[in-house]
């Protein structure tokens, strides 16, 4: 069986994105990092004033992934952007991965050390908030 893997290593904005890329590579799921930019609001002159670039696109599955592992204020902002994206581009499938989803994934894979590192870097609270 052949797996289509991404060979380039982009500069990820967050450690969690790099970790998710490693997970996708591990399971042979092809991905692209921030491949598309979707305009979501325009000014009166028709100029784009706000866009949304989901973190990952999985071409074989046809879905975008957006990771949200940062502050709650940013989560609200991303939720708002995602609502606009879904209204403007209903054919685009986007899955939002919240911090709790990512934490649960790391627990499932026994990557508690990774969570501890990220929490230390971010100054976040305990591992489990649910």
């Amino acid at each position: 069986m052949e797996a289509t893997l991404t060979t380039s290593s982009p500069r990820f904005a967050h450690q969690s994105e790099a970790e998710l890329a490693r997970i996708l590579d591990f399971y042979g799921v092809a991905w692209r990092y921030e491949p598309d930019l979707f305009p979501i609001s325009w000014n009166a002159d028709g100029m784009v004033v706000e866009s949304f670039a989901p973190d990952f696109y999985l071409p074989e599955i046809g879905i975008y992934l957006e990771l949200t592992t940062l502050k709650q204020t940013l989560v609200r902002k991303k939720n708002r952007k995602l609502r606009w994206l879904r209204q403007l581009y209903p054919e685009v499938r986007v899955k939002l991965f919240y911090a709790r989803d990512f934490r649960a994934l790391m627990v499932k894979y026994g990557r508690l050390d990774f969570l501890a590192d990220v929490a230390a870097m971010n100054g976040n609270g305990p591992l489990n908030g649910r």
């Binding site: 997970i23 996708l24 042979g28 799921v29 899955k95 649960a104 508690l112 609270g125 591992l127 489990n128």
Partner: protein
């Protein structure tokens, strides 16, 4: 008696057994005369498989596979590997993949591609627990025991750090069990 590390019993042993019996009866009806092979993935699925096949009074065979999981990989950039392959060819056979739980779907997505390359007549999926909240790879489930919320579940074959598989029910693991081993 409920284990001290269990926060809540999600599905009692009786509920699990009743649903497994229903699934077995449905599979037996659908596959009567088709001599299916039930392929299960070690280790979590073995208890479900054992009960399921005993609820299927038709000719069938079973096979077991084991694949490496991401967390158990000691390499920083490894790839999933088949740790135990099928014992017999499945070319032309009617395959039922038996899974304990489908979460992200990544392992099963890999496994299905692998099995399709072996040329079976058909592949259908039977899972006891469907946890769709974090699904990354789309999986079409043909036989589903229960759909559950996004909780960390153990028991009836499901583990945390290789423990709790022998619980006769499906329970929610107390978060303190795994948060205790990770520093704040």
């Amino acid at each position: 008696m409920i284990h001290a590390d269990v926060e809540e019993v999600l599905l009692s042993g009786d509920e699990v057994q009743a649903r497994v019996a229903e699934l077995g009866a449905q599979l037996a009806a659908d596959y009567d005369g088709r001599d299916p092979v039930l392929v299960s993935v070690l280790k979590g699925s073995i208890i479900f498989l054992a009960d399921l096949v005993r609820a299927m009074p038709i000719p069938l065979s079973i096979d077991l596979m084991e694949v490496s999981s991401y967390g158990s990989s000691t390499e920083s950039s490894g790839q999933v590997r088949i740790l135990k392959d099928l014992s017999t060819p499945i070319e032309g056979r009617e395959v039922i993949v038996v899974e304990d739980i489908i979460d992200t779907g990544l392992t099963l997505n890999y496994l299905l591609r692998y099995l399709h390359d072996k040329g079976p007549a058909s592949i259908r999926i039977c899972c006891l627990l469907d946890k769709p909240a974090r699904r990354l790879a789309p999986i079409e489930i043909d036989y589903r025991g229960f759909t559950i919320a996004d909780r960390f579940v153990i028991g009836y074959g499901l583990d945390y750090a290789e423990r709790y598989r022998n619980l006769p029910y499906i329970g929610v693991l107390r978060p303190s069990v795994y948060s205790a081993v990770a520093p704040d």
